[in-house]
Amino acid sequence: MRNALLIARREIGSYLGSPVGYVVAAVALLIQGLWFTFLGLTKGALLSAQVLGVFFEGASGTTIILAALLSMRLLAGERENGTMVLLNTAPVRESEVVAGKFLAGLSFLTAVAALTVYMPLLIFVNGKVSIGHILVGYLGIVLLAAASLAVGLFASALASSQVVAVLIAGALLGVLFLVFFVAQATEPPINTFLFGLSIFHVRQRGFMTGVLKLENVVYYVGVAYFFLFATTKTLEARRWR
């Protein structure tokens, strides 16, 4: 765990020590702000809860894209810059590398999400929503970030270049996103299974509307665990061959 925290601290330092982290965060906040303003606040008469739902919808989309972009540099970036050898030849376990990278990425995504908190609070100016709804919505964003980041980290472990990593991550996340539409076109029991895999339309919808379901939490934790485990095994196979 000590090594994981060490790697996470260095990674977070690299976000803050270069313009990349600030630019990415600024662009994400700009997109979320525009989304919230034009689709939530000025589109027409909406209930406060609906406005909050629109905000979380935009935040979810931004989070998925941000996770894919952020994860590409976590391992493929190290490989591309020739610094992976530092981790490979240090007495550090692959699981510690993965945990450190994941913690750093999740901290960054959570921080970006936290910076948007003023938007739901703006709803209180002319409306009323429950704090519980906001908290559940943010929990959904963090869980979505964790799952998307784990998928991206797996892609980053597979690829030798960041471009390939983001393409693989985009493809995997695209499948988990679009599986909802495939499910709509199929019959039970297949569609039940496919709906269950949908990372956004089915699993995130509950959080957006303020409904906390254990099965949705388990889904995101399960996806994150599965892809982090796969990332660790991929690194083991690539490190020592």
């Binding site: 090594n3 060490l6 790697i7 260095r10 330092g13 690299s14 020590g17 270069s18 490989r79 591309e80 810059n81 020739g82 610094t83 992976m84 050898v85 530092l86 981790l87 490979n88 030849t89 240090a90 007495p91 550090v92 376990r93 030798s160 490190r239 020592w240 061959r241």
Partner: protein, 330 residues
Amino acid sequence: MIEINELCKFYGDRKAVGPLSCSIADGEIVGLLGLNGAGKTTTLRILACDLLPTSGTVIVDGIDVVERPHEVRARIGYLPDTPPLYPEMTVRGYLLFTAQLRGLSRSQAEKQVPEAMASTQLTEVADDQIASLSHGFKQRVGIAQAIVHRPRLLVLDEPITGLDPVQIVEMRALLLGLKGKHTILLSSHILSEISETCDRILVIKNGEIAASGTEAELTAKLMRGHVEITVREHADRGAAQVMAATLHGVREVEVLPPTEAGEGVTTLRVFFTERDVREELCKALVGAGIGILQIGLRERELESVFLNLAGPAKATSEAADEIEEEEEPA
């Protein structure tokens, strides 16, 4: 310190290294010399526990690198051919990170980082961003990260390549300064780069050790074969004629472009039959009134010692090297 026995590494069905056997004693500075594609980097990566050997054993400080790689990694400081640096970090921050990554506590790291910076003359740029440093300083940071945890073995892949002449002199001094504190194995494809630094040179060719010895021993091998001599000749009798008339040990004399300007100055390459007849050669020339301006092997010739020993790499090794490069983005 290092015992390598019948080490082989294949990339698919292409041989990169092996069978390679050698041993390196505690405290030695040994140079691994070979042309590009000879298998130097692969050998060093196996020693640094970055690559798994296909067969054979590699023991570092009594520990098998395949069976207990984690313990070996903690004992080794490794500098790949391109220093693994994070450009956005400061020198001090980077070294603190690498020291802790190698198992030091924060307080130990804070104590040892200034020492590593002092050894590598980085103290003046301690708080500079790595991105802003020159190539020579970056190379020093690479060495500092390799020594910061005081490893017993230092593995340096081409630490001098790409440096300018002043930086090469500084790097040699730095490496000599590390002597006694670590056992050092470093690689190069240029003999003159490491000949002054290393106690012993291992010449690697097609993944195998082609020769081993000090620079003097390797040079002597070629000196037995031929020598270059620059003389100031008389108008009536040439040096070649003197040699032909008085020496049985001279097999052939080849006239080369003179190495220095002057009237009557001639440079000859003299091939011996079997034994070294340099002494007789000098006596005969001086006896005939011919002045000897220079005798020996020029630095270019020393390189040819290496080229003769290392020879051209086989196509398979070159292919393997390409694979290495693909795997290890520089």
